[in-house]
Structures are given as structure tokens and as C-alpha cells.
Symmetry: C2
Subunit: 202 residues, 2 copies
């Protein structure tokens, strides 16, 4: 059983967070999900609707899996020292560190991606890559695995990555079962990424 | 601007709810999203993590769009008279009534699908279809449109349906823009449904 700490902050992107948590959450015997925020107040997403944190930064800084969604709120949170400190601390002991979309901006801001291969939202790619040159940013990838760090492209890519992570932590059959249960058409190839071209990155 | 009332109840399926709300929520000028529950307490999903209601049944029963997710909790809620009454009332005046997965069990339980074509989760299909014979259940469909009622297959199908609904309410270009923003590979054909075969329905 792996304990997943999923970060939430004001302006998180709904599907970045709940797409992957759907996939992990369908394996109740394998994953225990917790939403973690700076305070215990409900947190409004970029789509307005609100999630309810289970624990706060000061109550919980050890998880087997750290999960970081993106969203417009990352632009502000990348200057939030308490949040970046928490990411650094949790990353150190976590077995896996996952991000979706501009969640990788927060990981880069915390410095934990330095020297690592990673990807991010394709519309925001160039700006983020220019800002954090110590990260080896991959232009075309649905998701990128480098050691314990697994980072995905924008929003929907998080679901494909989550199934990839399940295949890595368990096996491919388990990931395929979860895709079938959720009637999801899994893009299993982590190099599948038509959006890199759409956004002129390749 | 359309006001969307999205029902939440204990044991709702995370992605049933938040996949479509991601799509609608990316069009902030077109849709105003509200989570509606029986009480104002945080509501635990089937994946445990909790959503925070914006309004309760007694505070709000008029919406332009009624949105009903599925999940294990529907098995209990289909006997909840307050919830079924609320669905009936909101459905009457709503311009559109949408469901994902076993959300159609709640619509059927409220009687609003009688004489209508509809679909549901493919693993639960036969049981639900046998229970509500007045509904014209469609075995193979990613989603089904019949008048103001738009019902989708299991979990992930909700995202394809939401984009279909956006195309219907606005236009196809708008739906394609939302798919691009969310780096989503939209199954635009509402008859695309490999899961009907997987579950032996065809």
C-alpha cells in the first residue's frame, strides 16, 4: 500500500489532479490518497469548484508518492516558500514524485528537477524551459520518467502518465484493468504527443 | 452564460464529475459551475478525496444544465427520495440534463428518462437496463443525445460527452479548442465504444 500525497493550492487545474487520482483511487488496496494543502480550508480550483484538504503541510511531509498538479495557480505558488520547502522535504524521502502540466513548474521552482529530464504543458513549455535551464526539458513526450521523477504534459496527459506509473509500480495488466474499469482509451506510448507539434515545439 | 448544477453525493466517481467540469470550466465566459449536495458538508468520492458543495438542494433547484455523475454511491442514492425529487424538479426547467456512467441510474430512478434513449456504464449496463425497462437503453455508444437528455458511458466517456455538449451548445471549433487546451484526444464520434464489446453487450 502506497500513501499518495496530492498537493492542492488555489487555482489548481481540476483534471490535472482528479484524472490521475481516479486511476490510483480505483486500486484501493494499492494506494491511499490524501489531499495536502497549506491550510485546512477548502481550495478553489481554476474551474472554481472546490476540493477539501485531508491534511496540511505541517501535519504531513512523508509520502510514498508526491503528486503535484498544475494550473494557473502555479504562477503564484512558485513564489510560495512554504510550499516549495514542503515539496523539497517530501521529494527527498518519497519513492516517486509525479507532476502533471505546470505542476513541473513547482518542482523546478523547488529545485528538485535540476539535472533531470522532465516535461510540462506544451503551451507554457518555452517560457518554463527558459526560466529553468538546469532542467533537461523534453519537447515531445506524453510523459517523461527519470529516476523517481515522472512528469507529464498538459492536463489530460496526467491520466496516461498515472496508468504508466501504475504499470511501473505494479504491472501492465493492472494498468490495463484500471483503463478498462474507467472506460479510458490509454495512450500507453509515452512518446505519443501531437501537442508538441501543434504548439510549434518540433 | 449557462449555470451548471453538478450533483455530488457520497461515493461519487471522481473523474465522472471532474472530467466534464474541467471541459466546461475552461470556458469561464460560457459556464458557471456549482457543486450541489444534500447538505453543505464535504462529500467523499469513491476515491475517498472530498469535494466541497457550493449550494444545497433546498437553496438551488434551477439550473440551465443539470449534471449528474455516477459512482458506487448511486446504488444507495437511487433510494434517496430527496435527491430523486430534486433531480425531477431541476430536470423540468433545465435546458440540458447530462449524466456520466451510473449517473443515468439516478436519472432513471427519478423517472426522467422514461421513453428516452440513454446509455450508461458498460459493466453495469445489463443490471440497470433490466431494472428500468421504460428507458430505451443503447448498448454501444460513447454517449447518447435524446432531446435535452445527454447520457454517457462509463467514467472517461464523460469528457467526450462534455466536448460533444459544448459543440452542441456552441460549436465544434469551441469544443476542439477546449480539447487542445487540455491536451485531450477527443473521441468526437459518439458511436465509438469498444467497451460494449469488451463487456459482451454486442
Amino acid at each position: 500500500m502506497r500513501r499518495v500525497g496530492a498537493l492542492v493550492f488555489p487555482g489548481f487545474e481540476l483534471l490535472d489532479l482528479f484524472g490521475p487520482l481516479e486511476m490510483f483511487g480505483l486500486l484501493k488496496d494499492y494506494f491511499d490518497l490524501q489531499l495536502v494543502a497549506e491550510t485546512s480550508e477548502p481550495v478553489a480550483s481554476n474551474q472554481q469548484v472546490r476540493a477539501n484538504p485531508d491534511v496540511t503541510f505541517k501535519d504531513a511531509d512523508r509520502f510514498d508518492v508526491l503528486f503535484v498538479p498544475g494550473g494557473m495557480g502555479t504562477r503564484r505558488e512558485v513564489s510560495n516558500t512554504a510550499l516549495l520547502d514542503w515539496i523539497r522535504t517530501v521529494s527527498e524521502s518519497a519513492e516517486y514524485v509525479l507532476s502533471v502540466c505546470t505542476g513541473s513548474l513547482l518542482l523546478a521552482g523547488a529545485g528538485v528537477l535540476d539535472g533531470r529530464r522532465a516535461t510540462t504543458n506544451k503551451a507554457a513549455f518555452t517560457k518554463i524551459a527558459d526560466q529553468y535551464p538546469k532542467v533537461d526539458w523534453v519537447k515531445q513526450a506524453r510523459w517523461v520518467e527519470d529516476g523517481k521523477f515522472i512528469t507529464s504534459s498538459g492536463v489530460s496527459a496526467g491520466m496516461d502518465m498515472a496508468l504508466g506509473a501504475i504499470a511501473l509500480m505494479h504491472d501492465r495488466e493492472t494498468a490495463e484493468k484500471v483503463a478498462m474499469w474507467s472506460e479510458y482509451d490509454w495512450h500507453e506510448d509515452k512518446d505519443w504527443d501531437p501537442f508538441a507539434k501543434i504548439h510549434g515545439l518540433i
